[in-house]
Symmetry: D3
Subunit: 283 residues, 6 copies
């Protein structure tokens, strides 16, 4: 019973956090280890269902690099790289669309169902959700979002469904574009005036000293970002992720979090405990 | 961080329980130590707000014996007892009504507010919620419920308020009757087809062996009650409480629980952990 | 039949008045003789139910001085007075809350029920209706309203209930404050953009010549108030009541009326006949 | 002021009657003197607006014999009579339709507007309200109702309009039929499960002794009608009116009243005073 | 089957037009040959029902000169003319009202019913739809619109009815005014922010060369109207119709069309084919 | 202009058909040539958008055999056949899911968008739309529908979206099953009480004499099916399609049509012209 008392106490302690997020939109970009490790995956799905159930309007945006690579490999497609970015020709785009919208997306919806939630799998083509144009001639069908129409997401949320979103967008002439998932999540977040944008990564967060795990920076104001860049604290793969966070907060999202997807239940830790789980960007 | 992982795990474990109670009506009869000990009181209020917040339709029914006694004492009123029950004359009834509806009820509403909830304090007179007739000539204005009209409670719930209810009922000619709070809670529960009726007591629950705290009976089927009575397991003050549970379950409430109000967060333990916190009566 | 024709004619004559007040909010401060004389009380309750029935959104705010005094007397509590105002210590505040919210309020709700109406008894603590702070250190728990949240009243009205309101307000730390009922009625009236604020008093209204009952002033513009004060027409107990009227009209209430509660059906006379029943304040 | 007190008392006395009819449908067949005398006409319009305003769902069905006759006379049309009933040829039907739907109906709507009400003038052709077939070959376009579709009336009522109805019905092939207004009012009343059907006539009601105005029969049960017919109390022009009342009550209307339209405000007398104004038929 | 393929192709070609008008308000002034020729009449009613069915909010405003003249003739009424306009005395106004509101209007409603639509026949008196004042002392009861209250039309549309409107308006004192139907249609169109105002005439439209049917002017900008007037292209009976179009477009209607009512299905041609059917006025 | 008149006449002729299908659910199984020929594909998409626009509740269910085969070929997967049916192992199922849900489905949604419609691409996994179990051990992940939950489809329709559905279903343990598209369309049709089930095929319909294109059987009653089977009129690939039609009609679908998808606009021909386009099955 003692154990139950502590358990109940912990539940009780979550009250102020739940009050804070009730009825708010939270956009989670799901990717990395949290998506490849089955046990982490289960924990994330369970967290999403729980948060949805207690009245938080969760939008799940996912990537799917490994699945795309696996399919490209299977069909023996070799990729051409331009400045380190993969050139997306028509065939590659078909594989991207099939892998993301057909496999990863629907598998996540199915998994949410096993945890008692009801997901609806959408991509940017559904209901005109994401419109894009070509980012650069050099990259083929890699797109840049020009418009977000959140009505399909809102319809899903208002009918009690958890929207799960693949980041394939539609062009003006009906072509499909491949969109970076972090960027898409940020755009969806600010177009819905979300309370939080949460990017799940395979890092602890921003570290003052890259070699010292205890040097985690918990909170960064937008005004502090340039210095962190020039100091080299924000660099490499973190650069585009931080830019997404900055853009989201600059355009109205209250908080943007880079959290460690390798921790089980990191979303719950971020949202329902007092310490949080990574680095938070605020105005 | 490790600690946060366990905390998140515990929150996550509550998922199936929350799914089970989502949108369900749960009537809590609040009384005893949980109402006189300030720290327990805070824990109960916090639990009620939490459960309400995550989508459970909580109805709080309260007693208030100590407050009534204190006021009767203050005005120097001596009570006449009939078969161990206090005869309720007009002056006593006024004190009952003032103490319950004016003091205890509104103080609870105020306390819910401090925990971030919005309560509405009602009694059986409001909106014709409880109608009663005299229980017995010998007891004066002690009443027996003849009709429950749950519309005032439903109106409060549908507008996001937590209904807090004093068990004073109205008679046909406008008189007020004093109603036993356990009985009123049971009547409200079955008139609202509640999922649970929870009676907070100052006991662990039903014990097979009164001297052995580990002999708690976790679940009792209605069919098993007569034997437990004849065996003397159900006796004394437990008798009327068990009868309320039996009546509620017999008339459609899914589960009736006698829980130990002396444990902090006993309501959360009962509803959101797997072990429960006392004795449960089912069909 | 002739008699019925005159009766029907009188009903018919009320048409323009009913048209004028249809769907409007009217806040009635109920007190004085109209509340202590049983026959007047019955007439007021009947009027309130009638007005509610024909589509006027009636809000009943009540005082309860005599009941408070009776209880203070019963418990042998002696009051300390500061500049003629009673110092309200904790024990006194408890008695105020019990008498107003527990006794007077619920008895009025019960009486409305006998006349076929459905009342909901609220106080300023319910749903955060009235927030207050200390008026002055010298007066203890006498409060000054800092915020009115009319949602609990609106919820009651929209569900067909007549809200009956005790003027006890909540402080920031959960304490209760005693609020002057005229002031509270005025604050509720302007926060709800009421059409009328009606203060029931034990006077005919403002008299030009205090000794001449026929010198009633029917209408006063706000701009005329200072002169009436300097002329001594507004003085004594009328001063605070007139100030409530002035404040209400200044902040958007269309009309504020001081009417003679000693006349049976004075509210109907004011609202549904052409002559009105006392003194009216307008912009 | 004394006078105002009596006036208010009379308004107050109407409370139970208003409570009884609140939200109920009452179908009034308007005709006879009440329609030709301008002062009576004003009183009726005022009553209709008042009743509508206090929440009674009033449906006004009108005749218009005098106006039809005047137009037939103007165009020099001579009528052929069959068993005392006018044969309605196409030209006559056109005049009926023009007079009723174009003149009488819209003039009533206009008059309601002058009294502050909002009327919508409909006939049986609008929205398929009344469908009919030929009553008899001998009578041309005189019709018998085969179907009532109350949706156009309900739409008007739910949007706050007072429906005013001319009793011209549509046939299967688009032809128009002339319908007796009493019969149509009865059919509308039972198809809407009305509380009352009120037929305004130029008589006091049913008199036991035709020469004794004090011998008015206030209430007749359906079972008593045959005897009143065989005794000759119901005869002549009263016969079809009584048959309408009987049919309406038999098919679910609670009360059918034959009232004296020559009395000003006879509808108010019937509905809002205790004595009523004519003869009432009940189950 | 080949034929069916072409038929289906034609239906399919209408898609962009239907998309353009979906949920938009279109006010059609119906008159002239299209109203006197039975086969054209059937085609118009069928078009109206079709357009209503596919989600266009059609408002049908009609004239009725021939019917008025026929009735005036029947009663032997001679008209006095002032500057070529008929003086409308009370008797004439009665005939106008009867013919329009009672005969033409309800016959159209009936005809819509035969084509499977549900019409509601309204005039400017219903629900205060059109308010007017005297246009000139010299013309008697000819009126000028001072206010349009579209609520009765909107109520009909929202309940799935096709509103059919006679252009008789109410004056401040309850008198009725005769209103030019083109003018009324224009006023209704701009008060409802209509997409189109369509005036059905007995002309092809504006012809550059009156003798050359192929010289039809398809589109006129408001800025081009003065020149067309000074050039004599707009003259005679076209002048007031063009003025209605100009006024409507100036006050917010997107397009105003003068179409040839002598062509069967001219409304469908205008709205659902690419070429249109007459002259269109735009900003 | 003459041409426009014929065009308008054809639109007008569609009125009774549109009236018949307004607000009804029509499930279209899309496949075969109509899906591989780009021009036919455009025509189908345009038809679907048109029908949706005029108020018909269209549900588009699609197959995608060629796309699946192409992908299997690309990855060099060889299929094992059991009694002529392909054994669906996990890898094959992944390809099925990717091709159908990721490629075919989203491309159709995109194409609908180009024609001005708003599609939402769903599969049986979304919102628990289709639940299935294994059809036979011999076939691997080929499934048999055990439950249809139409809420995701209804949500899409009620929000103005055209639901496009891939027939992949979810099993109890989260596995995905491949479902025959005709069967799934039939199950969705009867679970939604559709008016029509339309199966697009590459045949004219049922021919009495297989060599005589003019021997098309237009209508078949369920009772006539056994004879047509024993006579060999229904055979081969037609057998399972007819069985789907029979099952749908037997369980409440009004009409099931096998139409010739090779004709442009065959859906419009079937629904909006009088002759229809293939063979119809009715009760």
């Amino acid at each position: 019973m003692t154990d139950n008392i502590s358990r109940a106490k912990i539940l009780s302690d979550a009250l102020p956090n739940i009050q804070q997020y009730k009825d708010k939109v939270i956009v989670v970009k799901y990717g990395g280890n949290a998506m490849t490790d089955d046990s982490l995956k289960d924990a994330v799905m369970s967290d999403i269902v729980l948060l949805s159930l207690i009245g938080i309007r969760i939008v799940l945006v996912h990537g799917g690099g490994p699945e795309i690579n696996e399919m490209l490999h299977k069909i023996g497609k070799e990729s051409r790289f331009v400045n380190g970015l993969r050139y997306t020709d028509n065939e590659t785009m078909d594989i991207v669309q099939m892998s993301l919208c057909g496999k990863v997306n629907k598998d996540l919806v199915s998994l949410l169902g096993l945890h008692g939630g009801e997901g609806i799998g959408l991509c940017g083509l559904d209901g005109g959700l994401l419109t894009a144009e070509q980012l650069s001639d050099d990259l083929g069908l890699v797109g840049k979002i020009t418009k977000v129409n959140p009505r399909p997401i809102v319809t899903a949320l208002e009918n009690g469904y958890i929207p799960v979103i693949s980041t394939v967008a539609g062009g003006e002439n009906g072509e499909a574009f491949n969109i970076n998932a972090d960027t898409a999540a940020a755009a969806i977040a600010y177009s819905m005036k979300a309370e939080n944008l949460i990017l799940m990564t395979d890092t602890i967060g921003l570290l003052k000293d890259i070699d010292d795990k205890d040097s985690l920076i918990h909170t960064v104001r937008l005004s502090g970002v340039p210095l962190l860049k020039s100091d080299g604290v924000i660099k490499g793969g973190m650069l585009p992720k931080v830019d997404c966070c900055v853009e989201a907060v600059r355009r109205g999202v209250k908080k943007a979090n880079i959290i460690d997807g390798r921790l089980p239940h990191s979303i719950l830790i971020e949202l329902l405990t007092n310490e949080g789980a990574g680095t938070m960007f605020i105005q």
